[in-house]
């Protein structure tokens, strides 16, 4: 059932992408072309999500070094795995997937064998990760590509993968310079469905990290997790949003204010109330929403409607401003093709209605 939906949706996005892309080549006005190009970008983002929707859905937790990514994960997963600060850390992402038993698997770059260790308890997993980091620190020949940790955590059902990524931004010198970041970049570009961007409340968002976001994951990031916000009043949170809103332009992500530290403590103490106060359950439900295949499809559908609406609004306004009563927005043959694909699908019908207004 859901496979069929996903299949149809994929076809609709594909043909919409072609329609808009061809229009962006077809239109003469640079302004219109630019807007259409932007729509193409949005559609490519939607497409990227659908492409992986059927298989694994990887939510990556990304942020500067030491903003508390690992602590946040402790709070989310209930695993005490955070490595020591300033100690050696791996340049490889750690993927957490569901498994009945605790197990650590390692992939090395350019190597077939994937050594795997069964672990008795979380403590053993922690030790394994620490020793892996220590073993590979400074040894580029033995490059860790990826570490997978299987754990019996209910949140990880449905093929959801949560990935802890190496922090970026810390100054690196010498031969190692850039090695962390380039590993992270290729991972973000090729394997990720969704990014949770972790920032530290008290540090705000810096120029360099914003640039990093724009370059590598802006199209798959709808959530900014602000950690260390335990003592932030609603008013301060609002000001935080406003201060950084300009930097995001029209792609404003949701801001979630949480406390990783308090959350991890509450998780240890099994204190549901404190966990709630730390904002963790809210985040969990957001992750479930993303992890749920049907929810994901709904999200993509919504974003398509939103895009169609924004696009027609903009085009109509542009047309009015130019005082030209009739304009052809779509290339006639693209439009005909669009009309022909899956024309019985309710989503297609609605989109056609939306986009037709401008004809």
């Amino acid at each position: 059932m859901h496979d069929q939906d996903s299949h149809d949706l994929t076809r609709i996005v594909d043909s919409l992408l072609m329609l808009v892309h061809e229009a962006s080549e077809y239109q003469a006005e640079p302004e219109v072309r630019a807007i259409l190009k932007e729509a193409v970008r949005a559609l490519v983002g939607a497409r990227r999500r659908l492409a992986v929707a059927a298989d694994r859905y990887i939510v990556a937790v990304v942020g500067l070094t030491n903003v508390g990514k690992s602590t946040l994960l402790n709070a989310l997963l209930g695993l005490e795995l955070a490595p020591r600060r300033n100690g050696p850390c791996t340049a490889a992402p750690i993927e957490f997937t569901f498994g009945n038993e605790l197990c650590v698997t390692v992939c090395y770059r350019g190597s077939l064998s994937r050594p795997s260790w069964r672990c008795e308890d979380v403590e053993a997993v922690h030790e394994k990760l620490t020793s892996l980091a220590a073993d590979t620190a400074g040894r580029t020949s033995l490059a860790l590509q990826q570490i997978s940790v299987k754990a019996p955590v209910p949140l990880l059902g449905n093929g959801l993968v949560i990935a802890d990524t190496p922090g970026f931004g810390a100054a690196q010198l010498g031969e190692d310079a850039g090695s962390h970041e380039s590993a992270l970049k290729s991972y973000l570009q090729n394997e990720i469905s969704q990014v949770f961007w972790v920032v530290l409340a008290e540090q705000g968002i810096g120029k360099r990290e914003k640039n990093f976001c724009d370059e590598f994951f802006a199209d798959v990031c709808d959530d900014v997790i602000v950690t260390g916000a335990e003592d932030w009043e609603a008013n301060d949170r609002q000001r935080f949003r406003q201060r950084y809103a300009d930097a995001f332009g029209n792609r404003m992500p949701r801001f979630h204010f949480v406390s990783g530290l308090k959350g991890a403590e509450a998780r240890r103490a099994k204190d549901a109330e404190a966990l709630e106060a730390a904002g963790i359950p809210m985040l969990e439900s957001r992750i479930r929403e993303l992890a749920d295949p049907a929810g994901r499809l709904a999200a993509v559908q919504n974003s398509l409607h939103q895009l169609a609406e924004d696009l027609t609004f903009w085009l109509a306004r542009f047309r009015d401003r130019q005082r030209q009563p009739l304009r052809v927005w779509w290339r006639p043959d693209s439009w005909a093709r669009w009309r022909a694909t899956l024309s019985n699908h309710p989503l297609h019908k609605r989109l056609t209605e939306q986009l037709q207004v401008t004809e």
């Binding site: 299949h7 994929t10 076809r11 996005v13 594909d14 992408l17 072609m18 892309h21 190009k37 193409v40 970008r41 490519v44 497409r47 492409a51 500067l64 070094t65 030491n66 020591r84 600060r85 300033n86 100690g87 931004g169 810390a170 100054a171 690196q172 010198l173 010498g174 310079a177 850039g178 970041e181 380039s182 290729s186 570009q189 090729n190 530290l200 409340a201 008290e202 540090q203 705000g204 968002i205 810096g206 120029k207 360099r208 914003k210 370059e215 199209d219 932030w232 301060d236 000001r239 935080f240 201060r243 950084y244 930097a247």
Partner: protein, 640 residues
């Protein structure tokens, strides 16, 4: 040590210089001497608190002042400070806003935050230049000026511009980092800027030590010291403090008392020396152009009308010589640029062939069973093979373009001042005097020779003034050529800091420089275009035809991508050559033109004997004064 007497001598020296400069009516130099003298007379040491955004600069400052509220240096959960605040001791509380347009306004302490915070003065729409605050602050020595600065590296671009303009005016710096975060690239760049401004004394301070474990702080300090060592900064000591605790009143326990003691010690032993050094370097930088102009004027006045006529003829002749010389350089540059672009284009075309055939092979070689899987992977495969092929090519081109610019800068004829006030042109063939000296008046006026003769402080002050005039615009829109050329030396200094690609390592102001951006950005720009064009691959067609469809779509996609690179980007790159040359050419032409008109006017307005005598006397006195002042690094070569 008799500090006052030392300064008295320096001040007297500066006063005499100023009187001399004044008689020539040179307002710029006189103003600069006045400001420097006022600063020295106040015997006031400028200590600036610098650091990244949200490191706790304002909190520390309040603690150093002994304030219990944050009226003087407002604190917020979000990046707060957006302007320079200069804070001194006085019996009465007073705060004055100095606006960019020269207006000044006194305000009560309670309104300070309306001018110096991002919250109330967004993007500095109120046009604040700086805040001058004084009051009976218990913790502040009477002869110390503390300066609060905006944080570096925030999303507020203008903060970095303000910092850049201010740094050369500091006598020493408190460099604040956090135990919470390891040192990052922004902080290294900020430090680099401090060093470039010749500020010798840096107090390294690590804040928020109470919020991390002892072990973490220990690790962080060791890590930072090692990192700084690698860029040639030797750190004797990292002061551990908790600015917050100090602000709450615990000076001893917070470590701030120890920091204050160290600052006090340093000032007691070195204040006079540091102030005198910075003062003299400032004065010399200000007087230098006056000396040059004067010397030039005297030599030219001694000449007869016919001699001037000869000089003019010589200049015109030299201009022709320069013309042919620079034509050669320009052609060489054009050739190098075109060659690089050609090589680029060719390599891109080759890459296209390689990628096309690789992928075609891959598709045709895939067993029918795996085609669906391949269809899914194809976008990723395509992107990574584009990456693999194109990035090295782009890197190679960028490197050759950079070399071409560098060579152009080195080989292009450059005017400077000779030892006797004559204008010298330096070309590939060597150095030739092109005018006797009259042109030097104009040369000095246009600023030729200042950079060559002045000390490091002179250039940085000049640069800072330029930035202060238009803090944000300077950073946002520098001209193409000055951008390129000024980027280069900085890049080579920063090379060890590069985190993979050169652009990442550029300091804030430089990142905004347009050549690399205009050239479609840093390495990796190829990706940007491709993302946009990613046309879907997984059309669900019947299995039998899927392979053909895939091959077709792949081919189409590759074609589009390369078409964009070949037609848009490479065309733009080819055009860029003309733009760069044009700017260089106009710059030189303007200078030559001004020199020529100066000679013409010297020919028309001959000084009387009496005037000449006066000028000579003045030059002799200036010479004597400059040679007589305690002579640090910036000795005047001109009049020796």
């Amino acid at each position: 040590m008799n500090i006052i007497a030392d300064h008295g001598k320096d001040l007297e020296w500066a006063r005499q210089l100023r009187d001399l400069v004044d008689t020539r009516g040179d307002a710029v130099a006189a103003g600069e001497i006045d400001r420097a003298a006022a600063a020295l007379e106040a015997d006031c040491f400028v200590l600036a608190v610098l650091g990244k955004a949200k490191r706790g600069k304002s909190t520390l400052l309040n603690a150093l002042l002994g304030r219990r509220d944050d009226a003087v240096a407002p604190i917020d959960k979000l990046p707060a400070s957006s302007a320079i605040s200069r804070i001194r001791w006085a019996e009465a509380e007073q705060a004055t806003v100095a606006f960019r347009d020269g207006r000044r306004e006194n305000i009560p302490f309670s309104r300070i935050r309306h001018y110096v915070t991002e919250e109330y003065n967004k993007e500095n729409f109120k046009g604040v230049d700086a805040l001058e605050i004084s009051g009976p602050f218990s913790g502040l020595d009477h002869d110390l000026e503390l300066v609060d600065t905006p944080g570096a590296g925030s999303i507020h671009e203008h903060h970095d511009a303000i910092l850049h303009a201010f740094i050369p005016l500091a006598d020493a710096v408190i460099f604040l980092v956090s135990a919470r975060m390891p040192l990052d690239q922004d902080e290294l760049e900020l430090l680099h800027e401090v060093q470039a401004a010749d500020v010798d004394k840096i107090f390294f301070v690590i804040n928020r030590v109470d919020e991390s474990s002892e072990q973490d702080v220990e690790d962080a300090i060791a890590h930072n010291i090692q990192l700084l060592q690698q860029i040639g900064v030797h750190v004797e000591k990292f002061h551990r403090i908790s600015a917050k605790k100090a602000f709450q009143g615990d000076l001893e326990g917070s470590g701030v008392a120890a920091l204050m003691a160290e600052i006090g010690q340093f000032l007691a032993h070195n204040k006079g020396r540091v102030l005198a050094e910075r003062f003299q370097s400032r004065i010399r930088a200000a007087v230098q152009p006056v000396c040059q102009a004067l010397a030039v004027q005297i030599t030219s006045s001694r000449k007869t009308a016919s001699e001037l006529e000869t000089e003019l003829a010589k200049l015109r002749e030299q201009k022709r010589a320069i013309e042919s010389d620079r034509c050669l350089v320009e052609r060489e540059f054009g050739l190098a640029w075109t060659r690089a672009a050609d090589a680029y284009e060719q390599a891109v075309r080759q890459a296209k062939g390689i990628i096309s055939s690789d992928l075609a092979k891959k598709i045709s070689g895939t067993p029918q069973l795996d085609v669906t899987k391949l269809a899914k992977q194809l976008p990723t495969i395509l992107r990574s093979s584009l990456d693999d092929e194109l990035i090295p090519i782009a890197k190679r081109f960028e490197e050759s373009a950079r070399q071409a610019c560098e060579k152009l800068q080195i080989a292009y004829p450059e005017l400077s001042m000779g030892d006797f006030g004559e204008v010298v042109v330096r070309t590939n063939a060597g150095t030739t005097a092109i005018t006797g000296s009259v042109g030097g008046v104009a040369a000095a006026a246009t600023g030729i020779g200042l950079a060559a003769a002045g000390s490091a402080a002179a250039t940085s002050i000049a640069a800072a003034n330029a930035v202060a005039l238009a803090a944000t615009t300077t950073v946002a829109a520098p001209s193409v050529i000055s951008g390129v050329l000024s980027v280069i030396p900085q890049l080579s200094i920063l090379a060890p800091l590069a985190t993979g690609s050169a652009t990442v390592a550029c300091p804030a102001a430089v990142t905004a420089m347009p050549l690399w951006v205009a050239m479609a950005g840093p390495v990796g720009w190829t990706l940007a275009g491709i993302g946009v064009l990613a046309v879907p691959f997984s059309w669900r067609v019947s299995k039998l035809r899927l392979k053909d469809k895939l091959a077709e779509a792949t081919d189409e996609h590759i074609k589009t991508v390369f078409c964009q690179i070949l037609e848009d980007k490479i065309t733009a790159i080819r055009r860029m050559e003309k733009g760069i040359l044009e700017e260089v050419r106009i710059g030189l032409d303007r200078q030559l033109g001004q020199i020529e008109s100066a000679i013409v006017s010297a020919k028309d307005h001959r000084p009387t004997d009496e005037e000449l005598k006066r000028l000579t006397g003045m030059a002799e006195r200036l010479h004597g004064l400059l040679a007589g002042g305690s002579a640090p690094k910036a000795a005047s070569s001109l009049l020796d």
